[in-house]
């Protein structure tokens, strides 16, 4: 009963496009209720210590203020840590808003002012006077690195560094060509365009509907029911549209706690929307100090890889991500030693941010490989090919598929890599130095157990549903495509419903696993419907399919036709009617195949090529061209897929050149907490980006043959740009972002 694919693999406009361009798509802070009250968060001005006193009288006197919640008067919530630990929480003791007088990070929420309207809440919040008993804090990772430790408890789903192979130090010491440097990446904040917000609608009788900015409604649901002791049947969480997240919406953020707390206490609807500045009090990509030491033969063949990373975490949770493992995954090497440690600082816990870990580790690795290429006198692309590995040497497994070599080939061809002149500072146009750089990228292709429901109605319409989210990734659209193909319906007859905790189970939307996971679940549910429908069709009176075997029919254009004789068919509507069915509904669960997982590793790969132009004297960098060749299995929708890669590249461009949360360690506070001074790339920064999807057949990574695209676009981007900057200028910047001050030549440069 294999169906033809009308939509899978074809470029389609987003099914939610019209809603988004007309302004009718509504986000978490845009749901209202007649009894809606507004909460404004007051943030701590110190990084560590205690609240000595909060004077609330002036604020309470403001007409329209309903209640001011602080640690002193907050309603009771669950006692045990486990109740606060969400689906993706790292090991530790999760932060509890307004729990007590203790301050553990600057910007910590210390009060919620709830008023009849937003302006009143904000105004009243400004009247609060807080006295602190400050204690010495430590926010500087450089100073804390001596205290680094290997986390005792591992974070679920995060592979620790692989066991050492061979004798890396000895091989490094003996290697003819050696590179040994430290690399740093500044703290970055996610800054989705939509600030975090939760609107809690009080439904009466203790029931609430929560519109949350979250990448997993069921994660919020579990958190709410756990923390507030509510029954699942009394809470429904919705996130039909999410205005970007990039990881910031994986864990429930403190505004959710505060909004639910206030709504339950006031027994009315409450919205809490964070300000942009407060977005800098959430999790972030942790500052990371990495050392990469590479030893190689004169021809660039790797003989030793040592990669150590020290990353910041909070004092209360051991946030972990995969930073160093990529070094022995991307290249063949017999002598490998990788280590990953944490050091505590007095900030909030870091959070997964687009391609967490990989962006950091691959930046260091791919910079070091580039340095090795120059040291060995080997072309930077050639050295990557020369050290290619066809197996996952960390796990000792084969890959489900790996077309990275084809990425190198097609990317280089499109970019014109062969016309590159080898020496740094050897390409110039006017006052600008031109540089070309390359880097590899990898991201694990994961699939997570996900359930979906498919419901076909007699009018020929199909609805598919699972609790996942579309944070801009195109989930609505690809689920619609998959479902339409499975039942041979036009896309217009299919509706995808997501972002509702009442729908079948889905994990958080993240890790690039949603297409493979939710897509497979939807396909499975549709196939279950198809089987039932086929039985109904065969049993219908005078059915032309009476003697047909499932393999003899196809579902096309709302009809079930005999493959051998398409003139003989029964319409879906007739089949339903014959069986007396108004609605045919099936639920199915798709899980990764554990036997396959034991034998194979699944990764997406990329080769990214960047051209930069750097003003020789002023250090101003412009990225003028990017080619990113990606091997990610089958591509469901080339249009939205391309957007995913472009978006990742732009994110990487920001990481490379502009993004940096600047900490004042004396105050223990990030200072540029706004979009005027935290520079995410603007339109003028972004050149044409050429995306190539390399043909990659994969029948193991997921039932659909897809591997996911949300992260791979960013991995390697910063390194490719940094490598291009080195090629242009001869200056190796090992600390991101590469702001122009880092590229001002030491001594006044010669005439242009």
């Amino acid at each position: 009963m294999a169906n033809g694919e009308t939509y899978f693999g074809t470029a389609r406009g987003r099914v939610d496009g019209p809603a988004k361009v007309t302004g009718s798509a509504r986000y978490a802070a845009e749901f209202a209720a007649a009894d809606l009250a507004h909460g404004h968060v007051v943030s701590a001005a110190i990084a560590k210590g205690r609240i000595a006193a909060i004077e609330t009288a002036a604020a309470e006197a403001v007409h329209g203020v309903l209640r001011i919640f602080t640690h002193a008067n907050r309603p009771g919530t669950a006692w045990r840590d486990a109740r606060y630990r969400d689906e993706v929480a790292p090991p530790g003791s999760p932060f509890r808003p307004l729990h007590d007088a203790k301050i553990v990070f600057s910007g910590q929420p210390i009060a919620l002012v709830v008023a009849e309207d937003d302006a009143t809440a904000r105004y009243a919040a400004s009247l609060l006077r807080v006295r602190y008993a400050a204690e010495p804090h430590a926010t500087d990772l450089e100073r804390q690195r001596g205290q680094a430790y290997v986390p005792r408890r591992k974070r679920t789903g995060i592979a620790p560094p692989p066991k050492p192979r061979g004798d890396a130090q000895k091989a490094f010491d003996a290697a003819p060509v050696r590179i040994d440097h430290e690399y740093r990446v500044a703290v970055e904040h996610h800054n989705p365009m939509e600030p975090h917000a939760s609107t809690v609608i009080w439904e009466g009788d203790g029931r609430i509907t929560v519109h949350d900015k979250i990448q997993g409604v069921q994660n919020s649901l579990g958190y709410i029911t756990g923390v507030f002791g509510l029954s699942q049947k009394n809470v429904r969480v919705l996130s039909p549209f999410v205005g970007g997240a990039f990881g910031s919406g994986l864990r429930p953020q403190y505004q959710l706690f505060l909004a639910v707390m206030a709504a339950l206490d006031l027994k009315r609807s409450v919205r809490v929307e964070l300000t942009r500045d407060q977005m800098f009090t959430l999790g972030y990509r942790p500052a990371t100090i990495q050392r990469v030491a590479l030893g190689a033969a004169p021809d660039g063949t790797l003989q030793a890889i040592l990669h150590d990373a020290i990353a910041g975490t909070s004092t209360f949770e051991d946030y972990q991500e995969v930073v160093v493992n990529w070094s022995s995954l991307l290249y063949h090497c017999d002598n490998v030693a990788l280590t990953y440690r944490l050091a505590q600082i007095d900030t909030y816990t870091p959070a997964d941010m687009r391609a967490p870990g990989a962006t950091l580790g691959v930046f260091a690795l791919e910079s070091a490989i580039d340095e090795l290429a120059y040291a060995a006198g080997v072309d930077p692309l050639e050295i990557r090919r020369r050290n290619y590995t066809r197996t996952d040497e960390n796990e000792g497994k084969d890959f489900t598929s790996k077309e990275l070599m084809e990425c190198y080939r097609l990317g280089a061809e499109r970019f014109g890599w062969s016309r590159r002149s080898a020496a740094p500072r050897s390409m110039r146009e006017g006052r600008e130095l031109v540089g070309w750089g390359v880097a590899s990228g990898a991201w694990e292709a994961m699939m997570m157990k996900t359930s979906a429901r498919a419901a076909l109605t007699a009018d020929g319409r199909l609805e598919v549903a699972t609790a996942t989210a579309d944070i801009g990734t195109g989930t609505y659209t690809i689920l619609t495509q998959i479902a339409a193909d499975a039942l041979g319906l036009p896309m217009e007859s299919v509706t995808a419903r997501i972002g509702d905790s009442a729908l079948p189970h889905s994990p958080v939307e993240g890790g690039s696993w949603t297409a493979a996971s939710a897509g497979s679940a939807v396909q499975a549910a549709c196939r279950a419907v198809r089987e039932k429908l086929f039985s109904a069709a065969r049993a219908a009176e005078n059915s032309p399919l009476a003697n047909a075997d499932p393999s003899h029919v196809r579902f096309v254009n709302g009809r079930i036709v005999l493959a051998a004789d398409p003139a003989r068919f029964i319409t879906v509507a007739d089949a339903m009617r014959a069986a007396g069915l108004e609605r045919l509904e099936e639920e199915a669960t798709a899980s990764p195949d554990s036997a396959t997982q034991k034998r194979y590793s699944a990764y997406t790969h990329s080769a990214i090529f960047a051209e930069v132009r750097v003003d020789a004297q002023l250090g101003v960098v412009r990225v003028t061209r990017i080619v990113n060749a990606v091997a990610a299995g089958r591509i469901i929708n080339p249009r939205t897929a391309r957007s995913q890669i472009i978006g990742g590249v732009v994110f990487g461009l920001g990481m490379a050149l502009t993004e940096e949360s600047l900490p004042d360690h004396a105050l223990g506070r990030f200072m540029n907490h706004n979009l005027g001074e935290y520079h995410i790339p603007v339109n003028a920064d972004v050149p044409a980006i050429d995306v190539i999807f390399v043909d990659e057949h994969d029948d193991k990574a997921s039932p659909l043959g897809v591997k996911g695209l949300g992260e791979i676009g960013i991995v390697g981007s910063a390194a490719a740009i940094a490598n291009a900057v080195y090629h242009a200028t001869g200056t190796r910047v090992r600390s991101l972002p590469m702001t122009l001050d880092k590229l001002l030549p030491e001594k006044p440069a010669g005439r242009a």
């Binding site: 105004y123 600008e432 250090g619 200072m671 540029n672």
Partner: protein, 339 residues
Amino acid sequence: MNRFAYLRPTDIAEAVRAIAADPSARFIAGGTNLLDLMKYEVERPTRLIDITRLPGLDAVEETASGGLRIGALVPNADLAHDPRIAARYPLLASAILAGASPQLRNAASTGGNLLQRTRCYYFYDVGTPCNKRAPGAGCPAIDGVNRIHAILGTSTHCIATHPSDMCVALAALEAKVHVAGPNGERTIAIGDFHRLPEDRPDIDTTLAHDEIIVAVELPAEGFAGHCTYLKLRDRLSYAFALVSVAVGLAMDGDAIGRARIALGGVAHKPWRVPEAEALLQGRPPTEESYAAAADRLLAGARAYRDNGFKIELARRAITRGLAQAASGTPQSQTDKRIR
């Protein structure tokens, strides 16, 4: 944002009377900086006096001396795109277009642009001390995150910079600011309009509380043939200057006749050093000439923890700006290749 009373006077005299009556009142026009600061509780005016409907402040007019008089309410975008400005004062047009975004330029007024307050992180964050917000509170920027801060004209109280691009061009053009107050009109030279922080960093300008900007006057000389506005920043658009330079040259044959140079992003006001400009007079347009002027302009520059790069960056920006101006190839604010 605090609560305030809103007034809409109908003429300048009424506006002046209203502000004179309340030391905590503020004029509002475009609002692009004042409302921003009010939302951060940095500004908490008791009254906002809406001057956008005052008559006679929205035109660009010829002056008897061959210059232009720009009404204080003329939006930045309209000013930049006024054909007379574009043709006769391209330096000013270019500087305006280097700043902010099209949306902000549509809203922001000429007078308001002159009164923009600093972008210092600490000034904006009421959770930190700041001498500019509360004199005597202290300045964490001096030993803190000061990559964007001043290198010239700083004090032990404040190292904030003036944020405007337009004003840097106005300084180079030697514009005049016409203001009205209870005692009638007076004129302030642009060089005297903004002040250095000294021991009163809370005061940005020499405009009195009870005065209103009515116009900016441009003298006849616009340096249209040889000028540039070069702005260096952390991304290619929509960011404040790390360093900017406005240059206007009057060429005398193959030599430089008169020169005007103003720097942005380096001090509490647009930075001009007439002696540096005098150094260029009669000199050939060469790197050596430019270097001499740059050295003089940056004499006394001081590096703080993070902003030492600005000294060398400014030196090179001055040199490049002078070269661009001398060769008649001003920096495009669209084409990001620096000429």
